[in-house]
Symmetry: C2
Subunit: 248 residues, 2 copies
DNA sequence: ATCGTTAGGAGTACAGTGTACGCCTCGGGT
DNA sequence: ACCCGAGGCGTACACTGTACTCCTAACGAT
């Protein structure tokens, strides 16, 4: 009677099983209907059992995002930076489309998990190994951020806040460890603040990043307008990039 | 004793007062802490009293978005399309920054209020009177959509769903009325589906719109990279557009 | 001045949410 | 044989949105 009417003894719960079940359930019933109770019921378990594997619902959502980040294809190393970034973003988009709730869930996230940082680090790496400067890469990440993730603009704001009670030595040690695991993002974070001689954080001009991406788009519109561009041909035979190239 | 310790008789509640109080309260305590009970308390009223002026919380949030949309500066009519769009978007951004909750609230919205449609219509108008084609304007709106609002991609999906039980005649009448109030958005909506001879809706290739904006940005990065562009000068003295122009 | 109507606020109630706290029950190491 | 701790159970609480019923004050018509 301990096992309901399932066959065999119920396998033990663990974090991975909880997260995967949560993702599957969110796929099915939507993120707004996903409650701890509903998820527990799906796992044949009492609600509070989940809290042995997840601190709270917030952390559950963090974990779910981690799962879907893991589903994004790694970048193809051989390609040039442009097609590398392009395929990476399209892969991310594809993944987000398979999990309709993911976009909304990501937007509400406030913390930055290691897996997400790994993802960003490899993303930045594609730009840097492609020869782009730290400066340009930084702005490019911001410009693309709104298109892939919602968190990018907060990347360089948060890290300062969560650990206010550490000594300078500890802080330096943490940064050294971070630099080991996320060399690319740390390189960018330090380079942007290096110019003004400040510490990490608060060195990122959000207004500039916004206008940077905006003007890139507006310039693009203007160029296409001047060329008399139309989407009729581009849609069927070739990508925008190619269309723009031929029109150039 | 009917009035608590406020001076004078409490002014009657109305929709505008509810909405404004909700906006002010959200500014203060954040959107996630805004509950019907808390709002009612702020207005010195019992929770259920609010439901005489808003159907439910969803509609309350819709109304709050309407309020902040109304705060965005109207476009300056005299400028060229590019600077018109630019200043409009920067004004929108400025408004969204004053209400930190607004971005998140907008992203959860699913319905399209008349005020929002008005806003979009005037926005489209800036492009069209600037001489851009319907086609290019359409894609430009999508490309900018993710940057200003989160709803743009659903614009051409929803209108078909909410009214499934109307006759073709009624549908045509509704569209005629819509064309009168929102001439620009209707022009775009009909033009995009016109090509394939289908009815309104379902004519918008989301994947294409995504790649359109993506490639515009990537091409921009590439161009700046080739020019050896750096943000050092651009940040202090001039905008990106100007910097790009001088480098061109 | 009296009436009925009605809009708008009050009160109660209910189902559903996240989660704090304590208990119980196994499986495995000593 | 013992213990002990990881992990699941049960109860409980504060809080959410909102349905339903009642009451009261304002107002136009008689």
């Amino acid at each position: 009677m301990t096992d309901t009417l399932q066959a065999g003894p119920r396998p033990r719960l663990n974090r991975a099983r909880v997260l995967e079940a949560a993702v599957a359930l969110a796929d099915e019933i939507g993120i707004e209907s996903l409650s701890m109770r509903r998820l527990a019921q799906e796992l044949g378990v009492v609600p509070m059992a989940l809290y042995k594997h997840v601190a709270n619902k917030e952390e559950l959502l963090d974990g779910m995002v981690d799962v879907i980040v893991g589903e994004i294809d790694p970048p193809a190393a051989d390609a040039d930076w442009k097609s590398g970034v392009r395929s990476r973003i399209l892969s991310a988009r594809h993944t987000l489309q398979r999990h309709a709730w993911a976009r909304r869930a990501i937007e509400t996230r406030t913390a930055m998990t290691p897996r997400v940082l790994d993802y960003m680090d490899s993303f930045v790496g594609v730009f840097l190994t492609g020869g782009l400067s730290l400066d340009l890469t930084h702005h490019a990440m911001h410009a693309l951020g709104g298109r892939v993730w919602g968190f990018t603009q907060e990347l360089f704001e948060d890290p300062a806040a969560p650990a206010p009670a550490v000594s300078d030595a500890d802080r330096a040690e943490m940064l050294r460890q971070a630099a080991q695991r996320y060399p690319n993002v740390v390189a960018i974070a330090t380079s942007v603040t290096h110019d003004e001689g400040s510490v990490v954080g608060h060195g990122c001009d959000d207004q500039f990043e916004f206008e940077f991406a905006l003007d890139l788009l507006l310039d693009g519109f203007e160029r296409l307008h001047a060329r008399g561009w139309t989407s009729r041909g581009a849609k069927t035979q070739q990508s925008n990039t190619e269309a723009a190239k031929t029109a150039r």
